[in-house]
């Protein structure tokens, strides 16, 4: 089993190939007078080479360890889906509520959603944590640091 080795090599090849292809569109120029695409092209090709090296050299210690893990990926993902979803979702919510509602509601939504990612946090605890952080945000960031972020806004 060399699963992890090939995953990581593939990951690097993916980025490397994408960079190489992308940089071809920018104009290469010559060594003495490089265009905008020259340096990224070098990096892309280099990363592809490293990716190939990763695939052909023996497994590193962390890959052996990762391959030895008994739990299938599906089980791991299912168990962590809630905290992951809460983390990513709360930040996305912060962006939208921040744009259309202002700092105070955005902070509240972020904390409330993120806290619910942990099954041990009750709705009540999350609510009070969110209220506390909103108060801190208003005091420290809005008044203390004069952050340019309206507390409440519509649209």
């Amino acid at each position: 089993m060399h699963k992890h080795k090939y995953y990581s090599a593939g990951f690097m090849l993916l980025i490397g190939v994408a960079t190489t292809l992308g940089s071809l569109g920018y104009g290469l120029g010559s060594l003495a007078r490089m265009g905008p695409g020259y340096f990224p092209l070098m990096l892309g090709v280099l990363l592809c080479l490293v990716g190939i090296l990763l695939a052909v050299t023996p497994d590193s210690a962390d890959e052996i360890r990762a391959d030895a893990e008994r739990e299938p990926l599906r089980v791991i993902v299912r168990r962590r889906l809630r905290p992951w979803g809460a983390t990513v979702g709360s930040v996305i919510a912060f962006i939208f509520v921040g744009k259309y509602g202002g700092l105070a509601p955005a902070t509240f939504v972020l904390i409330f959603m993120a806290a619910l990612g942990d099954p041990k946090n009750s709705i009540k605890a999350s609510f009070w944590l969110a209220v506390g952080v909103v108060a801190f945000a208003i005091a420290a960031f809005h008044y203390g640091l004069q952050l340019q972020f309206p507390l409440f806004t519509w649209g």
């Binding site: 104009g27 007078r33 490089m34 340096f39 709360s90 902070t107 806290a115 946090n121 972020f149």
Partner: protein, 510 residues
């Protein structure tokens, strides 16, 4: 020379100036513990306040702010794995594991102590060698810069506890991230995917906080509901101060770090960051037990921290004598000077000796004040870790979001931090560590610029990197480092016993 220093002490210790420095340090410290809000934000906020002061007082206050925020940044890096600035990303690598082992107080103390010693050494070196240092800065053309950065990047790839090849891959990915944005030479927007905000490139704070902060929250998802971040140990009063032996042990690393920092600090641009990464690499090489690095080695905190702060001292040489600010913070300091009608230039040391030396001494003093102020505070910061993690991580997410927003007052950067965080988590779970990536990102644009400039000057002749003595020397060291990595990998197949050891060590940390 001694006269100068005495003059500096007199200036810095006048009651006024002491007070300005104190105010700066205190405010800086309070602002600095908010992750993402670094020296730059703090100084730009307080710059208008300093207009009314005399120039020395103004600079002293700004220097105090600089140190206060920098130290506050080290605190959050160690405790919460949230680096506000690039140079503290190195401190995260070993400081955060230390904090999780219940030794956070000691790590913070060590960071502070190392930084203090680093400043002392920096000042002494500056006293004796400042004319020499000014000349060194002139020796660096584009070819030398490029070669030095190549060496620095290779050193950064050793920042991982895993495979060095993956470290190199991380550096290259970081360089690629650095390419995003408008090309300086031609004005073409590269890899901007049609998004106007990306034409300015990816914000450094967003990258750093995403790679360390968000990635960390995602990685800890497995431990939710399981109490605090600590894995073992509890805090008593004794846990703040490191043992006597430990300080003695750390001294060589602090000395090496300060030496590297003082030399690299003169180079405008990446001096401090590069110095701290290089120092980490050297400590790892010099250590008899390199496998401890990345899992909580005290030298991994003390060396880079010393390098960082001694570099901050010598960075004043190009700023004040050549008028070349090394980074945005220095540029603001320069601006503060110009508002007071003081033009930076080679004459500055002669014309305003009390300002020049007073500033240096105030750096030293700012550090001393920090120690005095913070020794009682460390205990409180460390108590943070005993708060259940289920209450900490939403707050951390909020601090990341607001900190990133505050750098450009732009919600787009918050979405960048989220994207980078998810990317960093996928990369980290495949064994690609964030620290080398960050280093590649920081040095990338400067490296490209110097690479292109060097080849422009040599009319496309690659030999220029080898036949110039300094750059050739850097290239030789780089090549040697690569050769040792390759040799070790070929000779040293992982043995089962070593794996077992690595396995138990890593599970102890997690």
């Amino acid at each position: 020379m001694i006269d100068n220093l005495i003059l500096g002490f007199q200036t810095a210790f006048s009651l006024h100036n002491l007070m300005y420095a104190f105010v700066g340090v205190l405010l800086g410290n309070l602002i600095g513990v908010l992750p993402g809000i670094g020296a730059l934000a703090a100084i730009s906020m307080l710059l208008p306040v300093t207009y009314g002061l005399d120039p020395t007082g103004a600079l002293l206050m700004l220097a105090g702010l600089y140190y206060g925020t920098s130290f506050g940044g080290a605190t959050t890096s160690i405790l919460l794995n949230l680096p506000g600035t690039a140079s503290h990303a190195v401190v995260c690598v070993d400081g955060n594991p230390l904090a999780r082992q219940g030794r956070g107080g000691q790590a913070i103390f060590m960071a502070m102590f190392a930084s203090f010693i680093g400043v002392c050494i920096g000042i002494v070196l500056m006293m004796f060698f400042s004319p020499l240092l000014v000349n060194t800065a002139f020796l660096f053309g584009p070819a030398e810069y490029f070669a030095l950065m190549l060496m620095g990047l290779l050193a950064a790839s050793t920042l991982t506890s895993g495979s060095p090849l993956k470290g190199i891959a991380s550096v290259i990915v970081g360089l690629i991230f650095g390419v995003v944005g408008t090309d300086v030479n031609t004005g073409v927007a590269r890899f901007d995917f049609g998004i106007p905000e990306l034409q300015d490139g990816i914000a450094l704070v967003a990258l750093a906080m995403g790679l360390f902060g968000i990635t960390d929250v995602l990685a800890n998802a497995a431990n939710l509901g399981e109490g605090t971040l600590l894995t073992k140990g509890n805090f008593g009063r004794q846990s703040v101060r490191p043992g006597k032996g430990e300080i003695r042990q750390a001294m060589p690393s602090i000395a090496r770090g300060s030496a590297i920092g003082s030399v690299l600090g003169i180079l405008p641009g990446a001096g401090g960051t590069m110095a701290s990464f290089m120092s980490y690499a050297i400590e790892k090489k010099a250590s008899r037990t390199p496998e401890r690095f990345g899992r909580g080695a005290m030298e991994g905190v003390s060396g880079p921290e010393a390098a960082n702060s001694s570099a901050a001292i010598t960075a004043f040489i190009p700023t004040l004598t050549l008028g070349i600010p090394g980074d945005a913070v220095m540029a603001l300091m320069l601006g503060a000077l110009m508002i007071h009608n003081i033009a930076p230039g080679p004459q500055l040391m002669v014309e305003y000796p009390q300002l020049f030396w007073g500033l240096l001494v105030s750096f030293w003093m700012g550090n001393l004040m920090l120690m005095v102020l913070n020794i009682p505070l460390i205990g409180i910061w460390v108590k943070l870790l005993s708060v259940p993690y289920r209450l900490i991580y939403p707050t951390v997410l909020f601090l990341i979001a607001v900190g990133v927003y505050s750098t450009n007052n732009n919600l787009f950067d918050v979405s960048v931090v989220l994207f980078i965080g998810v990317f960093g988590y996928v990369a980290a779970s495949l064994g690609f560590q964030p620290a080398p990536l960050l280093m590649g990102f920081i040095l990338g644009p400067m490296m490209e610029e110097n690479f292109r400039r060097a080849l422009l000057l040599s009319r496309g002749d690659m030999i220029t990197f080898i036949d110039r003595p300094l750059s050739g020397g850097f290239m030789a060291v780089t090549f040697l480092m690569l050769a040792t990595v390759a040799y070790k990998r070929l000779r040293n197949r992982p043995k089962p016993a070593q794996e077992q050891e690595a396995l138990s060590a890593s599970s102890a940390v997690k």
